[in-house]
C-alpha cells in the first residue's frame, strides 16, 4: 500500500516542487490524512509527510533520502523525545560525538520496520540531526505495543555510528516546525477517523432493533447522534481552517498555536465520538469482532501522540499569553 500511496504523490504533497514534491501544502496533506483516518490505515503517512520529510526538507533538501522517502522506497522514523527516570518526558541527553550516538530516545513512531532513524541529539556545540541505519551497531530497539496494534520504539544507542545531517540551532527550529506540521496532520487524521466512526454508528442505530423499533428512533439516541455529528462538523471546519492558515503563515511562533488549536479540537471530538460509538453499539461494540472498536483504539493512539487535547489547550493558551505580554 505504501508504494501505491507514493505513486499517488501522497508523501511529497507538502514538499515544494523544486525539491521533488507536489508543493500542495499542508491543507492538501490534511485531506490525505483525513482519508487515512477514515480507513484507520496503519501506514506512516502523517509521520512521513510531517516529521521525516518535514525535517529533511527544511534542513537538507538535497539529501538522497528525500527522493526515496517521497517515492515510498524507505521510511525513516524520527527520534527526538526522551524518557526520564520517572518514566515521564525529560530533557534530551542523548549525545553525539566522533560520529557515534550514546543514550536513548523514546516514543518513536514507526520504529519497527523503519530503514533508519533521524535522531536529534546533542553535541559539544549544540543540537545535531543525525541518521542512524536500522541495523547499526549498538542500536537496541524495544517495542511498546499500542492499543491499535502498532508499536512505539524505545531506542538505546551505545556508540552507535550515525551520519551528521545538520547542526546548530536550525535543527531545533526545523524540529519544532516539523512537529507542528505533524500535529496538525494528526488532527486531520483524527477528523477522518471520527467521521467514519460516526457514519458506522449512524448506520448501526438505524438498523439495530429493540422494543420492535430501530434504536435510532429513540430520542435520547437521536440527540446524542446529533451532538456527535455537530462535534464532527465543528472539528472538520476548525481543523481544515487551521491547516489552511498554517499554509499561509511562515512565522513558527504563529504556526505552533494554530497546530495546537487543531489537535486540541480533533482529540476532544475523536475521544467523545469513539467512546459514545461504543456505547451506542452496546455489547457488540465491546468486542473485537466489530470494526467500531478499531476506531476507538486508533483514536487512543493518535490522541496520545504529540500531545492530547488538555496539553494542546495549555500550549495554545500559554503562547497566546506570551504574545499578549510581548505586545
Amino acid at each position: 500500500m505504501v508504494r501505491e500511496l507514493a505513486e499517488a504523490g501522497v508523501f511529497g504533497v507538502a514538499v515544494p516542487e523544486d525539491q521533488g514534491g507536489l508543493g500542495m501544502g499542508l491543507a492538501a496533506g490534511g485531506v490525505i490524512a483525513e482519508e487515512v483516518g477514515r480507513v484507520i490505515a496503519p501506514e506512516p503517512v502523517v509521520s512521513t509527510i510531517g516529521l521525516s520529510l518535514g525535517l529533511l526538507r527544511r534542513l537538507c533538501p538535497d539529501h538522497p533520502k528525500m527522493a526515496q522517502l517521497i517515492g515510498g522506497e524507505i521510511s525513516l522514523a524520527v527520534a527526538w523525545q526522551e524518557r526520564g527516570p520517572d518514566g515521564a518526558p525529560a530533557d534530551a541527553t542523548c549525545r553525539y560525538a566522533d560520529g557515534k550516538l550514546t543514550g536513548g530516545k523514546a516514543w518513536v513512531v514507526g520504529a519497527i520496520g523503519s530503514h533508519g532513524f533521524l535522531v536529534v541529539a546533542e553535541q559539544d556545540d549544540g543540537p545535531v540531526l543525525v541518521l542512524a541505519e536500522a541495523d547499526a551497531q549498538g542500536l537496541v530497539i524495544d517495542k511498546r505495543t499500542q492499543a491499535d496494534g502498532s508499536s512505539l520504539g524505545e531506542l538505546s544507542f551505545s556508540g552507535t555510528p550515525a551520519a551528521e545531517l545538520a547542526s546548530s540551532g536550525a535543527v531545533l527550529t526545523a524540529l519544532a516546525e516539523a512537529v507542528a506540521d505533524a500535529t496538525a496532520l494528526a488532527a486531520a487524521e483524527l477528523v477522518g477517523l471520527s467521521e467514519r466512526a460516526f457514519e458506522i454508528t449512524l448506520d448501526y442505530i438505524k438498523t439495530r432493533e429493540q422494543f420492535d423499533k430501530p434504536i435510532g428512533s429513540f430520542q435520547v439516541i437521536q440527540h446524542r447522534a446529533v451532538d456527535l455529528n455537530v462535534m464532527c462538523e465543528v472539528a472538520q471546519a476548525g481543523v481544515r481552517e487551521a491547516l489552511a492558515q498554517m499554509d499561509s503563515e511562515t512565522d513558527p511562533k504563529v504556526r505552533a498555536p494554530i497546530a495546537s488549536r487543531a489537535k486540541a479540537r480533533a482529540v476532544t471530538a475523536a475521544k467523545k465520538i469513539t467512546r459514545d460509538a461504543i456505547q451506542l453499539h452496546g455489547a457488540v461494540g465491546y468486542t473485537d469482532e466489530f470494526d467500531i472498536g478499531l476506531y476507538l483504539n486508533r483514536a487512543l493512539v493518535l490522541s496520545a501522540w504529540l500531545g492530547d487535547d488538555a496539553y494542546h489547550r495549555r500550549i495554545w493558551f500559554e503562547t497566546r499569553e506570551a504574545e499578549g505580554a510581548a505586545q
Partner: protein, 383 residues
C-alpha cells in the same frame, strides 16, 4: 440608488462599519436590555434617513436589497459594534411576509409605516398551550361581517407593551383535519378595548415580554395576509435565513471578549483549571466560526442552506451559556451581585450576560427541537 451588491465584500464592510462607528450613539452600544422605541428613536431616524432600516428588503419597497452575502456582512458589523437591532420585528418578520404574500394594497399601506416605525410590531405566535408545539395554538379568529373577531391568549410576546400592532397566527378553521391546517396569519391593532397587555417580569428583573389577551378584539378582514388557513406554511417559509443569523458567532465572541478582560482583571488566569476552561471556550468559539464561515460561503455562492445549518445555533448558544457561566466563576464572591462590577477601567455586568444567555437555547426553536430536526432531516433517523 446605490447597488450595494455590486461592491466588493471588503468595500461594503468598510462602508457599513464606518457608518456605525461614526453615527451610532456610544451609550447605546451593547445594550443589556431590549429598549423601548423612545430610547432608540433618535438612532432609528438616522438609520431611516440613510435608507438602512431594512437591509434585506428589495429596493423597490425601500430596503437596501442586499443579497445573502452582503446581508451577513451587514449583521456581522451590526453585532460587532454592539448596534441594537431596534424594534425590528416589523422589518424582520411582518415586512418579508407582506412582500411575499401580501396584496398590493397591503404593501402600499404597511411597508412604509414599518420603515418609519409609525407602526411598531410584536409577534403573537406562542400561547400557553402552544410553545414548541406551535401548531397547537387555539386563539381563534372568526369572521363577522367585514371583520375578524379574535378571542384567546398569546404569551411571551416580546415588547408587546411597547407595540402598536401585533402579527399573529390564529385558528380560522377549528374543524380542519390536521392542526397545521386551519391556521391563518393576521395583523391586528393593539390599541382597542378587546386587547389587554400584561407585562411579565423576567428572571433578570426586566419587562421584556408580555401576555396578550383577546376578548372580542376586532381586525378588518383585509388584514388577513395570504390565503385563509394557509398561515402555517407561510410562517415556516420565512425561517430559512433566520437560521444562519441566529447561529452567528458574534454573541459568543462578544461574551468571550468580556470574559477575558474580566478574568484577567480578577486574576482568574492564575488558576490552571480556569485557564483550561477558558481555552476550551475560546477554541469552541473559534472553531464554531470556522463552521459558520462554511455555511456563509454556501450562501455567498448562491446556494440555499439545508436543515444542517441549525447546528450553528445549537453550538453557539450552548457555548455562549458556558462563557457566561465562567464569568460568574471568575467573579467569585461577587457572582451573585446585580449590576456592573468594576475591574480596572472596565465595567462588566456578569449577571446581565448570564441572564441574556439563558433564553437563547429556548427561543428560535429550542435546542431540543433543533436536535429533533437535525436527527430527522440531516441524519435520516426514523420515528
Amino acid at each position: 440608488m446605490t447597488d450595494w451588491n455590486a461592491m466588493t465584500d471588503a468595500e461594503f464592510r468598510k462602508e457599513v462599519r464606518q457608518f456605525f462607528e461614526a453615527e451610532y450613539p456610544e451609550e447605546l452600544r451593547h445594550l443589556p436590555h431590549r429598549p423601548k422605541f423612545a430610547e432608540i428613536e433618535h438612532w432609528h431616524r438616522k438609520l431611516h434617513a440613510k435608507g438602512w432600516v431594512a437591509p434585506a428588503w428589495p429596493a423597490e419597497f425601500g430596503g437596501m436589497g442586499l443579497n445573502a452575502a452582503k446581508l451577513l456582512i451587514f449583521y456581522e458589523e451590526q453585532q460587532r459594534w454592539g448596534v441594537n437591532r431596534g424594534r425590528d420585528m416589523g422589518v424582520q418578520m411582518v415586512g418579508p411576509l407582506i412582500i411575499k404574500f401580501g396584496t398590493q394594497e397591503q404593501k402600499d399601506y404597511w411597508l412604509p409605516r414599518i420603515l418609519t416605525c409609525e407602526d411598531i410590531w410584536c409577534q403573537g405566535y406562542s400561547e400557553p398551550g402552544a410553545g414548541s408545539d406551535l401548531a397547537n395554538l387555539r386563539t381563534r379568529a372568526d369572521i363577522d361581517g367585514d371583520d375578524f373577531v379574535i378571542n384567546g391568549q398569546k404569551i411571551w410576546t416580546t415588547m408587546a407593551h411597547d407595540a402598536t400592532h401585533i402579527f399573529m397566527l390564529v385558528r380560522t378553521d377549528p374543524e380542519a383535519p390536521k392542526k397545521q391546517q386551519g391556521i391563518s396569519f393576521v395583523l391586528a391593532p393593539m390599541d382597542q378595548p378587546g386587547v389587554e397587555v400584561r407585562t411579565i417580569t423576567t428572571l433578570s428583573g426586566e419587562t421584556e415580554f408580555c401576555e396578550v389577551f383577546f376578548d372580542d378584539a376586532r381586525t378588518p378582514r383585509e388584514n388577513l395576509v395570504g390565503e385563509l388557513n394557509k398561515g402555517w406554511t407561510m410562517a415556516k417559509a420565512l425561517l430559512s435565513f433566520e437560521r444562519i443569523f441566529i447561529g452567528s458567532p458574534s454573541l459568543a465572541q462578544n461574551a468571550l471578549g468580556q470574559l477575558e478582560s474580566f478574568a484577567r482583571g480578577r486574576g482568574a488566569f492564575d488558576d490552571p483549571v480556569f485557564r483550561d476552561r477558558f481555552a476550551q471556550a475560546a477554541l469552541d468559539v473559534e472553531d464554531h466560526a470556522a463552521l459558520y464561515a462554511r455555511f456563509a460561503d454556501q450562501l455567498k455562492r448562491g446556494e440555499t442552506l439545508g436543515a444542517d445549518v441549525s447546528m450553528l445555533k445549537i453550538w453557539v448558544t450552548e457555548c455562549f451559556q458556558r462563557i457566561t457561566e465562567l464569568m460568574i466563576e471568575a467573579a467569585g464572591p461577587d457572582g451573585g451581585s446585580i449590576g456592573p462590577l468594576q475591574v480596572g477601567n472596565i465595567n462588566v455586568d456578569v449577571l446581565a450576560s448570564f441572564y441574556k444567555a439563558r433564553p437563547t437555547t429556548i427561543y428560535g426553536g429550542s435546542n431540543e427541537i433543533q436536535r429533533n430536526i437535525l436527527s430527522k432531516a440531516v441524519l435520516g433517523l426514523p420515528g
